[in-house]
């Protein structure tokens, strides 16, 4: 018995009182303890109640008959019913009709003593929508009550569904495979098998190199592995090999998949088959290679140049050096063309113009290539110039061919000139012979007139006149048949050229008794090669004379006019006119309506060639009673070379 403090002790008590005191004391002690434990008990009940009320998870107790006995506030909050409503009906009535059977089955199981974890069913909310709930529950063997907690996993399920759908889409549209960190294939999808030509069984467990093409460099592969092993995603184009050894190209994303600690566990690769695209790219490359053309672009902001593979052939720069910068590029260009390049490209960048021009590149060994560059400006959506894009073609062959054409044409012109010279020679001989006859006549016995100054003077003048005539013709001939390779352009007077041509054709016109009417209404200043244009005129006039010679009326008319835009020359004749079928072929080489030996047929084609070079046009004017060739020289402002 504990010591009772002295003050509590009655002063003197009989033995029965002492028993009474012990009883009271014991009762008091019991009371204190009881109070202590009861308080502790109620405190823990309170705590449990708090737990029950506060927690967000749904907690409930259901009786074996299937009704809620106790539910926490979270329950009604989530489902929207009041506590009363929820308790009023069997809980099965809140379950989705499709889930009723399985819920009842589980409930029975739980009551039989099998606790369950993560049982899912759908509960109807007050507003008619459904929630997906995940339950864990166990029953009390004595009371057969079921104690359960549930979580609303509707949103989780939704996320899962979306993820699933995304993955399905990827799965269906691309080649999907996974591999472990050693690179062994752990899963492949249908597409992967189809494109690679291997069956799933042949792929699983294999090293991923089973589809390796071997075309990628060691550095490429190393870089890929370094990237994904360090936890980063790798993007790129890969060329693989099918079971049959054929290449296939895939746009690839390889993503490392980590555990929750961030350690790489496996790799997921998603690939898009771009074999077809690659094939057309390769075809384009081949075509470009055959056509010796490449494409390029220039980013004005970053000052970057991009070159397609072919372009590296045109410059002394190897493919693995990558594209040059502007300064390096200019250095590759032939010194004589550098200014042109700079001004052309500069103009395009400043003013947004497109261009086409030729330039040469020069190689260390002295080799020179002729290139033709075409470029146009690129703009962003606000209209600001952001760069240039275009093509570059090796036209060395073309330039050589053009030179060849020029040489051939010069040859042809020469032979044509000689031919017309031959034609004219008979007439010209006559034209020289007359003045010569005059001179011989005037000189014969001229000493007789020594004493007669008047007559002498007259003779001398006659001789001079005749000599001048001869001089003119010979001069004209000399100029006409002079051989040249290069055209020499200068400011000329078309009227003067017409007059010169008339001298050379005078012989023929007289021989054929054809009147040549000259109607010069303007000076006709043009930029041209004098001799070539003279040949054009001689050709046209001679043709006119030939056309007119069998007519009753024989004339050729040369008319020269000028307006704001052009200098116009018309050569007409009184001939029969040119039928339509002939008109079409008129300027073709070797086409002639003249008899064999009369004309070479080269004349008009050369005329056309000369006029083309001069940017002039020639055509037969329609709807006229006679034939008329009209030549037009457009007046243009010449840009003087700096």
């Amino acid at each position: 018995m504990p010591d009772i403090p002295k003050q509590w002790m009655p002063v003197s008590l009989p033995v029965s009182d002492l028993r009474r005191v012990n009883f009271i004391g014991a009762f008091l002690i019991l009371g204190i303890f009881t109070k202590f434990f009861v308080e502790r008990y109620f405190a823990s009940i309170n705590e449990l109640n708090k737990f029950f009320d506060v927690v967000l998870d749904l907690l409930c107790i259901a009786g074996p008959e299937g009704k809620f006995k106790k539910i926490n506030p979270a329950f009604s909050d989530l489902l929207g019913y009041s506590e009363k409503e929820l308790k009023s009906k069997p809980f099965i009535e809140f379950v989705h009709p499709d889930d009723v059977d399985k819920t009842i089955a589980i409930f029975d199981k739980i009551k039989a003593g099998e606790p369950t974890l993560k049982f899912e069913n759908r509960y109807r909310r007050r507003d008619g929508s459904y929630l997906i709930m995940s339950w864990s529950a166990a029953s009390d063997p004595l009371t057969k009550n079921v104690y359960a907690s549930a979580r609303d996993i509707t949103v989780d399920r939704q996320h899962e569904l979306e993820l699933r759908q995304v993955f399905d889409a990827i799965e269906r549209s691309s080649l999907v495979a996974t591999a472990n960190i050693e690179g062994r294939i752990t899963s492949v999808n249908e597409n992967f098998c189809r494109v690679s030509g291997f069956s799933r069984a042949e792929l699983l467990g294999q090293d991923h190199n089973i589809i390796k093409s071997g075309i990628h460099s060691k550095e490429f592969i190393q870089n890929l592995w370094d990237t994904i092993l360090s936890g980063r995603v790798w993007y790129g184009e890969i060329q693989n090999k099918t079971k049959e050894g054929l290449p296939f190209f895939v746009q690839t994303v390889i993503s490392p998949m980590t555990d929750i600690m961030g350690r790489v566990q496996k790799f997921l690769s998603i690939q898009f088959d771009m074999t077809k695209q690659k094939e057309s790219e390769q075809l384009l490359e081949e075509a470009q290679s055959v056509a010796k053309i490449g494409s390029w672009s220039f980013d004005a902001k970053a000052q970057n140049i991009f070159w397609s593979k072919k372009i590296y052939d045109f410059f002394p720069r190897s493919l693995d050096m990558g594209p040059p910068n502007l300064a390096e590029l200019e250095a590759y260009i032939h010194p004589d063309d550098q200014i042109l390049w700079r001004t052309t490209v500069g103009d395009a960048l400043q003013n947004g113009n497109s261009y086409k021009f030729r330039f040469r590149t020069i190689f260390p060994d002295g080799k020179i290539l002729w290139l033709e560059a075409i470029g146009r400006s690129r703009f962003d959506s606000s209209g600001k110039l952001i760069g240039l894009t275009g093509t570059c073609q090796d036209i060395s062959d073309i330039v050589v061919a053009e030179e060849q054409v020029k040489i051939e044409r010069a040859k042809a012109m020469q032979s044509s000139k000689l031919a017309s010279l031959g034609e004219m020679s008979a007439g010209i001989a006559h034209e020289i012979n007359n003045p010569l006859a005059i001179i011989t006549g005037a000189v014969w016995r001229m000493d007789q007139f020594a004493k007669d100054p008047e007559k002498l003077k007259a003779r001398v003048e006659t001789i001079e006149k005749a000599a001048e005539r001869i001089e003119k013709i010979v001069k004209g001939l000399r100029k006409f048949s002079r051989s040249y390779e290069k055209s020499e352009y200068k400011d000329c007077s078309l009227s003067a050229i017409v007059n010169e041509a008339l001298i050379l054709t005078e012989a023929k016109s007289i021989r054929h008794s054809t009147q040549v009417i000259v109607d010069i209404k303007a000076e006709g200043a043009i930029w041209c090669d004098e001799i070539e244009i003279e040949q054009v005129l001689i050709n046209l006039i001679n043709n006119g004379i030939d056309a007119a010679k069998d007519q009753a009326e024989k004339w050729v008319r040369v008319e020269l006019t000028e307006n704001d835009t052009s200098v116009n020359l018309r050569v007409s004749d009184s001939g029969k006119g040119i039928p339509n079928e002939v008109q079409k072929k008129l300027f073709q080489p070797f086409f002639t309506t003249k008899a064999v030996g009369e004309g070479t047929g080269l004349g008009l084609s050369i005329v056309k060639g000369i006029l083309d070079e001069h940017d002039a046009t020639i055509e037969v004017l329609p709807d006229l009673p006679y034939t008329c060739f009209e030549v037009k020289f457009t007046k243009k402002r010449r840009i003087h070379a700096a």
Partner: protein
């Protein structure tokens, strides 16, 4: 009796020179630049010798010769390299001819 010569050449200087060179008391020369005039002259007046230039505007010496009396002797003068006339000419002179040769010819003709 003087020789009547008709000279036809569209080159007036030659007409002038011919006349100046060969006219004398024994030789009378009438020179024409136009064919019609020359033809008319031969029809009007007696002509003993006619010189005709081949190259004439709108015609040629051959045709002109045919329009003249066949009995008149005709000489063709031409600067052309090759002319084969139809009418019979007693001589063909090629320009430029030596006037001396012409003088000799005319003298022989006189005889």
């Amino acid at each position: 009796m003087p020789l009547n010569i008709v000279y036809l050449d569209d080159e007036s200087d030659l007409c002038h020179l011919f006349t100046q060179s060969f006219e004398s008391d024994k030789i009378k020369i009438k020179a024409f630049v136009k064919a019609e005039d020359a033809i008319a002259e031969t029809l009007k007046n007696p002509a003993d010798l006619v010189f005709i230039d081949y190259r004439l505007p709108n015609t040629n010496g051959d045709l002109v010769a045919q329009k003249m009396k066949a009995s008149i002797p005709k000489v063709l003068i031409t600067g052309d390299l090759s002319v084969v006339p139809e009418t019979p000419f007693v001589k063909i002179f090629h320009k430029p001819f030596k006037f001396q040769d012409m003088e000799d010819f005319i003298r022989d003709f006189l005889l």
